[in-house]
Symmetry: C2
Subunit: 185 residues, 2 copies
Amino acid sequence: MTISALRQEFILHFGEMGSRWGINRTVGQVYALLFLSEQPLCADDIVGALGFSRSNVSMALKELQSWNLVRLRHRPDDRREFFTTPDDLWEIVRCLIAERRKREIDPTLTKLRELTMTAPDPADAGAHARMAELRQLIEQMTRFHDDLAHMETERLVALLNMGARLGRIVDGAGRLIPIRRQKPS
Amino acid sequence: MTISALRQEFILHFGEMGSRWGINRTVGQVYALLFLSEQPLCADDIVGALGFSRSNVSMALKELQSWNLVRLRHRPDDRREFFTTPDDLWEIVRCLIAERRKREIDPTLTKLRELTMTAPDPADAGAHARMAELRQLIEQMTRFHDDLAHMETERLVALLNMGARLGRIVDGAGRLIPIRRQKPS
DNA sequence: TGTCTGTTTCAGAAATTCCTGAAACAACGG
DNA sequence: CCGTTGTTTCAGGAATTTCTGAAACAGACA
């Protein structure tokens, strides 16, 4: 399979960024390929397009599935598995945030709870307090994320687009300020 | 230097999580140590506490400085450099978000702009459109982040604490709904 | 200038992660 | 039961990243 220069460059970029994003080159490239592809692709399509080994592609697909970043499709009279990415980009963003939280935040929160739930040894009072403070902050942020995660995309996007205007609904002391309907968009 | 079991466990955890967070074990441990420490520490203190080589610690400190996660201190009549983490956790969160954006998002945004600014070759229309869509979404999110980054912490925390109630200020179609002052906290 | 105290750089050793090809496995149809 | 088609596992080689010790560097001061 041959790939246009435009696609090629996008795919290579995702491969390079992969390590910064906590995935590897193969996973990055496979994802980029699927993201751009109009039709679902099977593992061998990907091997043909990117030139990785079959097993490497298999691993990459498994990894992407564990991230919930690809959807599995089947065709009638075809035993092969075909893969796509969700069309809705916001769904992708939600997945990314949820997975990163699961991998990068939750384990630390668990550890912090474990470490701060026991009574503080006086000699460690400072460290204990600092951990408790961190734990509290992370809990506050994850609670907020839980709230947003349940919200419909339209509402989220509306909030997003309010941008700086959001700040106007609370005063400097964090109290709610009554607002009036703005110009309807 | 000897370290209590509580601190030890926190530090080791940060070391292990380091790779998931895009830093390495040394950097993670050094950061954790500084985070817990009541006084500023110099490089040799860190070597003594963690047992890494002097040069490794030097590299780690440089890396932390590039992330803006540590502050440099000097003592009168002492040429050594001492390091601390900011006391304000929200300042740390801001740094983290800003730096991750710079490393993980901005390069991709640049690449997407580069790839989508040229007219689409008809054969690539699909891929071009998908990239444009992604670019637009990222621009929307970074614009939002820019807005929030300028906001004072009190306001941000207030918004954070509103959580799900935030959703009530926009209706399903994304239009602003007038709200009344809630019970003053 | 020489030495003392501290930081930085760098080549290569050590450790880790990534990738491959081969073999094992699994499901299906004849 | 066997062959066909597809997926998964795994040992080990390749590549990358991390870490170290030694040497270079930089500034202060006698």
